[in-house]
């Protein structure tokens, strides 16, 4: 087997080399398992959670790709926090399955907790500690070396403007500062997946801006973020996709534009004239359905604005009808959200009633909206 003594001498080195290759391959594999999970970093299938007779989450299925920011919107008690806790491997699902960065939330709960950074709904700090001690504690629990943790902590404290307050005890921090340090805690081990529950709650506008900028940076760094929020502007500006949850179920899902179209219909255009609107209305016949008609204005739904609007302008010009303005009516995410959950508070008499009602909900929000809209 060994040709000469030299071969014999270096044989152990081969084994050592082989060992390093194997271990390195394994560690690379781990990184790849985290980093190359491009299909979906968060994947939930029919996730269901019951507390006794109460169904908190009902068969939620969700996929979030690497680098994607998804906002989970919904009224209080909709099941957002329970969903996040299941995905964070803190609660076990009653049924269904979920994988985070390829790790199963039940069978590989510890791995999941390692790749997830969780910002909880309340900062919940250890008030007697100082910022660096606090971060060192959570860093150590995440298995970080003290030095690496200190460097990362310093970087994050500086980024979030808390470096000067690092020697103060956390109980002396303002609400916004507490929220920031809680966010830093979630980021300390540089996780590929982040669950942020109300990240800008209680922050002043400047701090909120800092946090939003940080989220945008994380997104640019291909971090996968599940954002639970009531702040529609935040969801609109930060999220690539929005998932609306109600009664423990997903009732709507998509980009803002998709949701708007799905739930509020095609865009509505408003034409203002320096003439009675009846003349223009006649011109729209066969071109676009009229939504509303005023003395000198007309609103119509336009499926294909690029095709319809030039034609309409041409017809108006040909008839000599003076146009004041033509614009698409703005429809905010708030309109979309309220259209889904507006009646929720009115019906929140008891959880049972809500749960029964949710049980009767059809699968898609579209059908649901048809049901509840007068």
């Amino acid at each position: 087997m060994f040709a000469n003594r030299y071969d014999l001498a270096i044989a152990p080195l081969h084994f050592i080399l082989l060992y390093f290759i194997i271990t390195q391959t394994n560690s690379n594999y781990r990184c790849v398992a985290h980093g190359d999970w491009e299909q979906s970093m968060i994947e939930a299938v029919q996730l269901h959670k019951e507390f006794g007779a109460f169904q908190a989450v009902r068969e939620i299925s969700l996929q979030v790709a690497e680098g994607e920011v998804v906002a989970l919107l919904g009224p209080n008690g909709a099941g957002k926090t329970t969903t996040v806790r299941m995905l964070g491997a803190i609660l076990k699902p009653s049924s269904g399955a979920a994988r985070i960065a390829g790790y199963d939330v039940v069978a590989q709960a510890r791995e999941v907790r390692h790749v997830v950074g969780l910002l909880t709904e309340f900062p919940g700090l250890y008030h007697r500690m100082r910022a660096m001690e606090y971060l060192a504690f959570f860093g150590a629990l995440q298995g970080m070396q003290a030095r690496a943790c200190a460097q990362r902590g310093e970087q994050l404290l500086k980024q979030f403007g808390l470096w000067d307050a690092r020697e103060k005890r956390l109980d002396s921090y303002s609400k916004g500062m507490k929220q920031k340090i809680a966010l830093i805690r979630a980021l300390i081990h540089d996780p590929p997946v982040l669950f942020l529950d109300e990240p800008t709650t209680a922050m002043d506008p400047h701090s909120a801006r800092t946090v939003r900028d940080a989220i945008a940076e994380l997104r640019a760094a291909r971090r996968t973020i599940l954002l639970t929020t009531h702040n529609l502007v935040e969801a609109e500006t930060l999220a690539d996709r929005i998932v609306v949850v109600r009664g423990g179920q997903i009732v709507a899902e998509g980009t803002r534009a998709e949701l708007t179209r799905q739930l509020l219909g095609e865009p509505v255009w408003e034409l203002r004239l320096a003439a009675p609107s009846e003349r223009a209305a006649a011109l729209l016949d066969g071109l676009a359905p009229i939504e509303a008609l005023g003395d000198d204005w007309v609103q119509y739904r336009c499926i294909d604005a690029r095709a319809i609007n030039p034609q309409l302008i041409g017809r108006l010009a040909a008839r000599g009808i003076p146009v004041v303005s033509l614009a698409e009516l703005p429809r905010s995410l708030e309109d979309v959200y309220l259209s889904i959950v507006a009646d929720d508070n009115a019906e929140r008499g008891t959880w049972n009633a809500s749960a029964e009602r949710a049980a009767a909900l059809p699968a898609t929000a579209e059908i649901y909206l048809e049901e509840v809209q007068p």
Binding site: R110, G124, Y126, M129, L141
Partner: protein
């Protein structure tokens, strides 16, 4: 389980405790000021009592007190561990860390235990040192190395028992207030143990020190059982899921009835039951054999208890002369008149003992249930071996023969009664073990309800009829057999 995670949690919590002057100040006072005050009071005690020897009897007790008071502080920190964090909303972040439930539990346990225990040891050290310096004779008379060791162990084991119980309470309540209310279940028995220890220490006989060692042993067993219970019952999911301190008796009743109506192995949750009605035929034909198979371990333990009792009774009967039982041994050969009343009395007594030992086992980890067959068999072993010690032969049938005693007094009804007692003990043992480690799929509450439902079912449909039968035999037939063999 990660040792470094346990160390990290412990270090943080101990650091938190030791930077809180509200905890630190009393600990300092109890560790340094109280022992010195008590030592300085020794002079007054000597003058007041006028007898060094009497005062020296008090010294070990005072040392116990000096150690116990700071150690009892562990209750405050331990009760706060989980529920306090939950109230301050800091628990969820901790539960989201990649550490095992066991590491989390042990980290909290050690962190609750260390500061009060260090304080207690310091207090006892200060007391011993100050006493040795100020009153060397009193120290030499009052404290031997053996006394010091047993007292230190008593304090340590009691602290572990208190902390382990308090951590269990803390992880199963939703508010510090509720945890404090439940703390009386820890404090009252502990205070009773301290009182017993005080009597034994002041009594200071050779036997009382042996009893103190037995208390150390029992406290150690209890501490291990409680830590095991705490680790088995600790579940981060349950801590976060528990929202209200609400006792839903209807739900409890429904769950119990589900477990009662139909037999499924432990761990099968109520929603997996088919909710069929209870059927005695199904119970006797299918469920009882299955239940007995599933109860193999408790049955084996109960059998070991019975055999241990038999051997212990035999050993005592062979080795010692128990004067109190002379009268009983002298009456061997006589029997009461056969009567239905006697049979019913015996049967009802057995039924009552089986029910009470089973239910109370819940609170003492099955010890009562364990004792019933042990004591019953010990009596048999004692009488038989006492007869043998008095010259009776195992191979002949005569008035002093242990064999004749067994055939006349034990066999007619014992052939039914003793196995039934073992079964009853096994049921009770399972109830006692219900708190310690719920099987996968069950909560602690479900496990207790399941064990109690099986106990009730077996008690009602097996133990009661068989105890009635054995009682009737004992009341109506055994006296006839005794008369026939001994006349």
């Amino acid at each position: 389980m990660s040792v470094s995670a346990i160390r990290t949690i412990t270090r943080r919590e101990v650091g938190d405790t030791l930077t809180d002057w509200r905890i630190l100040a009393p600990m300092f006072i109890l560790a340094f000021i109280l022992p010195l005050l008590l030592v300085s009071a020794a002079n007054f005690a000597i003058r007041f009592i006028g007898d060094d020897a009497t005062v020296s009897l008090m010294v070990p007790f005072v040392m116990l007190l000096v150690g116990f008071i700071p150690a009892s502080f562990s209750l405050i920190t331990a009760l706060e561990t989980f529920v306090g964090e939950r109230e301050r909303n800091s628990l969820e972040a901790l539960l989201a860390m990649p550490i095992s439930d066991g590491a989390l539990y042990l980290g909290k346990l050690f962190s609750s235990l260390l500061p009060p225990l260090i304080s207690a040891f310091t207090a006892m050290g200060v007391f011993c040192g100050a006493l040795a310096l100020a009153y060397p004779d009193l120290f030499a008379q009052g404290l031997t190395p053996q006394y010091i060791l047993v007292i230190v162990l008593l304090i340590t084991t009691k602290a572990v028992v208190m902390v382990a119980s308090a951590v269990i309470i803390s992880s199963h309540t939703t508010s510090v207030r509720a945890a404090n209310l439940l703390a009386s279940f820890v404090l009252l028995p502990t205070a009773s143990v301290v009182q017993l220890e005080a009597i034994l220490i002041i009594g200071r006989t050779a036997r009382s020190w042996s009893v103190l060692w037995i208390i150390v042993l029992l406290l150690t067993v209890m501490a291990i059982a409680l830590i095991r219970t705490g680790m088995g019952a600790f579940n981060r999911e349950e801590i976060l899921s528990r929202e209200h301190e609400q006792l839903n008796l209807r739900q409890v009743g429904r769950t119990w009835m589900t477990f009662f109506r139909e037999y499924r192995p432990a761990g099968v949750t109520p929603d997996q039951y088919s909710h069929v009605k209870f059927s005695p035929a199904r119970f006797y034909r299918h469920e009882l054999p299955q239940l007995l198979r599933d109860y193999r371990l408790p049955l084996a333990v109960a059998l070991i208890a019975a055999l241990s009792g038999l051997l212990s009774g035999g050993y005592i009967g062979t080795t010692y002369h128990v004067g109190l039982l002379d009268n009983y041994l002298a009456n061997i050969g006589s029997a009461p008149q056969p009567s239905l009343g006697l049979g019913l009395y015996v049967a009802l007594n057995n039924i009552r003992v089986a029910a009470l030992s089973g239910v109370f086992s819940l609170f003492v980890f099955g010890v009562f249930a364990f004792l019933v067959p042990a004591v019953a068999f010990a009596q048999v072993g004692f009488v038989a071996s006492s007869l043998a010690r008095q010259g009776g032969s195992w191979f002949t049938l005569d008035h002093s023969s242990p064999l004749q005693f067994l055939l006349a007094y034990v066999l007619p009804h014992g052939i039914i009664e003793l196995p039934v007692a073992i079964l009853g003990a096994a049921m009770g043992l399972r109830v006692g073990a219900a708190l310690m480690s719920p099987p996968k799929g069950f909560t602690v509450g479900q496990n207790i309800l399941w064990a109690l439902a099986q106990l009730a079912k077996v008690w009602l449909f097996v133990l009661v009829p068989l105890f009635l039968l054995s009682g009737l035999i004992e009341g109506l037939i055994t006296p006839l057999v005794v008369v026939a063999l001994y006349s």
